[in-house]
């Protein structure tokens, strides 16, 4: 999956789960939970949607790699068909 396409998909998923968060000016480096106030339930819901839409199921042991939008994009883009 292309990186740009993946990022757009993830931004859409976050917008659906946390509509009050504005990601338009994000650099992608911010910690999603700490900077935008996502709680662990939101975070899990995002991962669930990613798995449903791309087939990439991110295991708990890899959570450290997906704490930012950029990290999440790279992780998913690399593994999604």
């Amino acid at each position: 999956m292309k990186s740009k396409e993946t990022r757009a998909l993830i931004v859409d998923i976050i917008a659906d789960i946390a509509p009050e968060i504005d990601l338009t000016d994000t650099t992608g480096d911010e910690h999603l939970q700490e900077t935008f106030g996502l709680d662990s339930m939101d975070f899990l819901s995002i991962l669930e949607e990613i798995a449903a839409k791309t087939g990439v199921d991110i295991p708990e042991s890899d959570y450290e790699e997906v704490v930012t939008l950029q990290g999440m994009t790279q992780y998913v883009a690399k593994r999604a068909p």
Binding site: I17, A18, P19, E20, I21, Q33, F36, G37, D39, S40, M41, D42, L44, S45, L47, E48, A51, A52, D57, I58, P59, E60, S61
Partner: protein
């Protein structure tokens, strides 16, 4: 208009899901009401047939006002149709509140007009409420459009003659009554329009009442979570993302089970006495990023498995974020749980949500120094706090409650 929480004084009916003549069953969603907690789907508490809808979509009415009539099939001695009691399950004080002094004629008229006697000031003997008081308080029937225009123009509804059925005030009546000159600009009222401000006001009402009326006492205990963390890690490693659990669900279940052992924490304080509840419906506080917090009830949490609770909590969180809760979820909570671990705080000392009598707080799960088998190491642990009502329980009972929660969390596989 049901009271959807101790903090609610009025609500705007946004839509009806039923029609006149339609049979309904207990638990059916009959309408949606816009409140300071978002749009709430209101469930009916009795089965019967809808005989009248008294409030039109768009109308804002105070708590306690009759919004519809329901024929429950009970044998009424004479017409009019028996009036359903406004349901206020969250605040039993309102249900059995003190008796209002009013003349029989005033009571009859109040019932006919759907006027809440408790909201009136009497002018009769011993300040009793007379029929004239009820008539004066009567809310004129008015169409939503006419109401909006009248509000914009600052018109007194009592001075407008309605030409519609039953004297209903229509748009034309309002326009006739409006002054010809442009209406004076109404000063902006951000408090009414701004939902965030409404939420803050709601919290202010409930929390001020809590601090005014409830003698809180506070306890805390540091609970080791080594076993719970390990169990959760193993469980989640084997599960696809949709079936993983959060530590918060273990906290929720542990509190629910502890309520069985220490019933003094689960119930309501009203009319100067404690009413313990058999049902255990913890309200799980969900923070709104735009400000405010809503603790919807997780019904019968003690009887649900962890996966079921997780699914339930996930769905509740979604609906809280979208402002789509059901009336029973905002009114039924028998105890509140707040978990601020995600925000990084170590401990949270809460304010009890009246008429409940206890609130359990969980902080962040962090590694702490821990002595075990004569050696000092680090172990994940959480600080669990209890704010409880001293009218109902004492520190000893509270301590037993916290100890029970702690014990339960040492056996996550049994939760």
């Amino acid at each position: 208009m049901p009271s959807l929480g101790a903090d609610m004084v009025e609500g705007t009916l946004t839509s009806w899901n039923v029609e006149v003549g339609q049979p309904v069953e207990r638990g059916d969603i009959i309408c949606e009401v816009e409140t300071n907690k978002g749009d709430i789907e209101v469930e009916i508490w009795e089965s019967g047939v809808v005989t009248e809808l008294r409030v039109e979509p768009g109308q804002k009415v105070p708590v306690g006002e009759v919004i519809a009539l329901l024929d429950t099939g009970a044998e009424a001695p004479e017409p009019p149709t028996p009036e359903p009691e406004p349901e206020t399950p969250s605040d039993p004080a309102d249900r059995t509140g003190e008796r209002v002094l009013a003349s029989p004629a005033a009571r009859r008229r109040a019932k006919e007009l759907g006027v809440d006697l408790r909201s009136l000031t009497g002018t009769g003997v011993d300040a009793s409420i007379t029929r004239a008081d009820v008539e004066a308080a009567r809310k004129p029937r008015i169409s939503p459009v006419a109401k909006r225009i009248a509000d914009e123009q600052g018109l007194n509804l009592h001075e407008i003659q309605g030409s519609g059925p039953g004297g209903t005030i229509r748009r034309a009546d309002v326009e006739d009554a409006a002054p010809q000159k442009p209406a004076p600009q109404k000063p902006p009222q951000p408090d009414e329009e701004d939902p965030l401000s409404a939420m803050r006001q709601a919290i202010a009402i409930a929390m001020a009442r809590s601090k005014r009326e409830i003698p809180h006492y506070y306890l805390y205990e540091t609970v080791p979570l080594y076993r719970a963390t390990e169990w959760l890690r193993q469980h989640n490693a084997e599960q696809p993302v949709g079936d993983r659990l959060l530590m918060g669900v273990l906290f929720l279940k542990a509190v629910a089970l502890a309520c069985r052992d220490v019933p003094e924490m689960n119930g309501f304080f009203s009319n100067d006495r404690f009413e313990p509840r058999k049902e255990i419906h913890p309200g799980f506080a969900i923070a709104l990023r735009q400000g405010g917090v809503i603790p919807p009830a997780v019904h019968d949490a003690d009887q649900k498995g962890l996966s079921e609770l997780m699914d339930h909590l996930r769905e509740l969180t979604r609906r809280v974020r979208r402002g789509k809760l059901r009336s029973s979820e905002v009114t039924d909570a028998t105890i509140t749980i707040t978990s601020l671990g995600d925000q990084g705080v170590e401990a949270v000392f809460g304010v009890i949500y009246p008429p409940q009598v206890a609130l359990v707080g969980f902080g962040k799960v962090t590694p702490r120094f821990w002595a075990h088998d004569g050696l000092v190491g680090t172990r994940p642990a959480v600080t669990v706090t209890l704010a409880a009502d001293h009218r109902v329980s004492d520190g000893l009972t509270g301590a037993r409650f916290l100890a029970t929660i702690s014990d339960l969390l040492q056996h996550p596989e049994d939760l």
